[in-house]
């Protein structure tokens, strides 16, 4: 099993390369918002992209490409669009990045656990979720189909691999079988996503399956 308080290098590379799925990208971005050290690493990895772009062989491009591009620029609206309204805070003090997302209602899953589905900006389906675990409560025991990416937004939780505080990031592969517990002091709120495409039904279904045991 792997567990990190920061994203692994290969995750930051995938972020820099633009190959992470929408949900994991949002989780990593939330971590980056509060971690200058990881932001620095991402910038280093983006410089690889710059170097690869610079080293591309120069191909012949259509001679009218620039004039067509100017025409498209001329066609743009002259004023910047008004910034999209922020969605309401899903909980007090939520990072601003989350307020650019579309967040569904908090839903009851089992005593001590609520989840809300999160649709990142520009996406049209939910690919991450907020989990709110009441102080001292356990999450259902679960395993993953693929990598699971989690950012602790508020509170503390612990599992067999350690204690995770606000701002910590955890990624766990599909071999992990764990049962995180929220600290006694306060509720723990996390943002989580798994690799691959998610649908609301499969997500809720997965939880229902674990909770109800069918």
């Amino acid at each position: 099993m792997t567990a990190h308080r920061h994203p692994a290098d290969e995750t930051l590379v995938a972020y820099a390369a633009g190959t992470l799925g929408a949900g994991p990208r949002l989780v990593v971005e939330t971590h980056l918002g509060g971690c200058s050290c990881c932001r620095k690493h991402v910038r280093a990895f983006e410089a690889i992209g710059g170097a690869l772009l610079e080293s591309e062989a120069v191909e012949q491009s259509p001679s009218d490409l620039l004039s067509r591009t100017w025409a498209r620029i001329e066609g743009l609206p002259k004023r910047p669009r008004a910034a999209a309204a922020l969605s309401p805070e899903p909980y007090p003090g939520a990072p601003e990045l989350l307020r650019h997302c579309t967040i569904g209602p908090w839903r009851f899953v089992q005593p001590g656990l609520r989840i809300a589905m999160v649709t990142p900006p520009g996406e049209n389906e939910a690919s991450a979720m907020l989990m709110r675990v009441s102080a001292g409560r356990r999450m259902p025991k679960h395993t993953h189909d693929g990598m699971e990416f989690t950012q602790v937004l508020s509170g503390v939780f612990y599992d067999a691999s350690g204690r995770y505080r606000t701002g910590d990031y955890i990624e766990a592969d599909d071999e992990v079988d764990h049962q995180p517990v929220a600290d006694e002091e306060q509720d723990c709120i996390c943002l989580a996503a798994i690799e691959g495409r998610l649908r609301l039904t499969s997500f809720v279904g997965r939880w229902a399956q674990t909770v109800l045991g069918f």
Binding site: A8, D9, E10, L12, V13, A14, A16, A17, G18, T19, A22, K40, H41, R43, A44, F45, E46, A47, I48, G49, G50, A51, L52, L53, E54, S55, E56, A57, V58, E59, Q60, S61, P62, S63, D64, L65, L66, S67, R68, T69, W70, A71, R72, I73, E74, L76, P77, K78, R79, P80, R81, A83, G122, E123, E195
Partner: protein, 206 residues
């Protein structure tokens, strides 16, 4: 910043200059500065001449069909024009910044296949102040990018391979492992070795 200035499009040379030379990073910075500060169309044309063919090749390598690659290259350059004021030369060299715009344009493209682009309509807001590009920090950023480029160029071949595949292929590492016929752990360890070198190159301050 968005207002277009200068003469009509006709004044901008469309045909490539007869003498081709590869501009230095400092030339790119100067052109970018002219675009940011004066919405200089000629400087943009030079950036375009340098980057558009590279972007097309880059997107094609990443799996986009030729016409889509051309279109996303255009979208990238449109965003370079409209977001010029968001470029912070102390943070990244011009190529690296344009790379991040290109990456986002590609994500946007894959996301909205068939939907209207948002990217190009997001013009930097009037009150975005822009960054000072005159300082020493800009030069440090250029040198930093240069060091990363050299570090990428001297990576052992098996590390360079997983780095390239990570950047160009829309593939999880597990698939890269399958394709190369090596264990997933080996892909990750090669990537980590490579990234340790890149980070070291990036972080050394002269």
């Amino acid at each position: 910043m968005y207002a277009l200035c200068g003469s009509g499009w006709g004044a901008v040379p469309v045909i490539a200059q007869p003498i081709q030379r590869v501009p230095k990073a400092s030339d790119l910075l100067e052109w970018m500065r002219a675009v940011t500060e004066r919405a200089d169309r000629e400087a943009f044309a030079r950036l375009f001449e340098h980057f558009a063919p590279r972007l097309i090749a880059f997107f094609a390598r990443a799996g986009l069909p030729r016409d889509a690659a051309e279109e996303v290259a255009q979208e990238t350059m449109i965003a370079v024009w409209t977001k010029a004021r968001l470029y912070n030369s102390a943070e990244a060299g011009v190529s690296t910044w344009i790379y991040t715009i290109a990456r986002n344009a590609r994500i946007d493209r894959l996301r909205r296949e068939g939907r209207r682009s948002k990217l190009e309509t997001e013009v930097a807001a009037e009150d975005d102040e822009g960054f000072d590009m005159s300082g020493e920090d800009s030069l440090l950023a250029l040198e930093r990018d240069e060091r990363v480029r050299s570090a990428v160029n001297v990576l052992p071949i098996e590390q360079a391979e997983v780095v390239r595949m990570s950047f160009f292929a829309e593939k999880p590492h597990a698939e890269i492992a399958r394709e190369l016929g090596i264990p997933l752990g080996t892909v990750k360890s090669r990537l980590r070795l490579a990234m340790a070198k890149i980070r070291a190159a990036w972080e050394i301050e002269q």
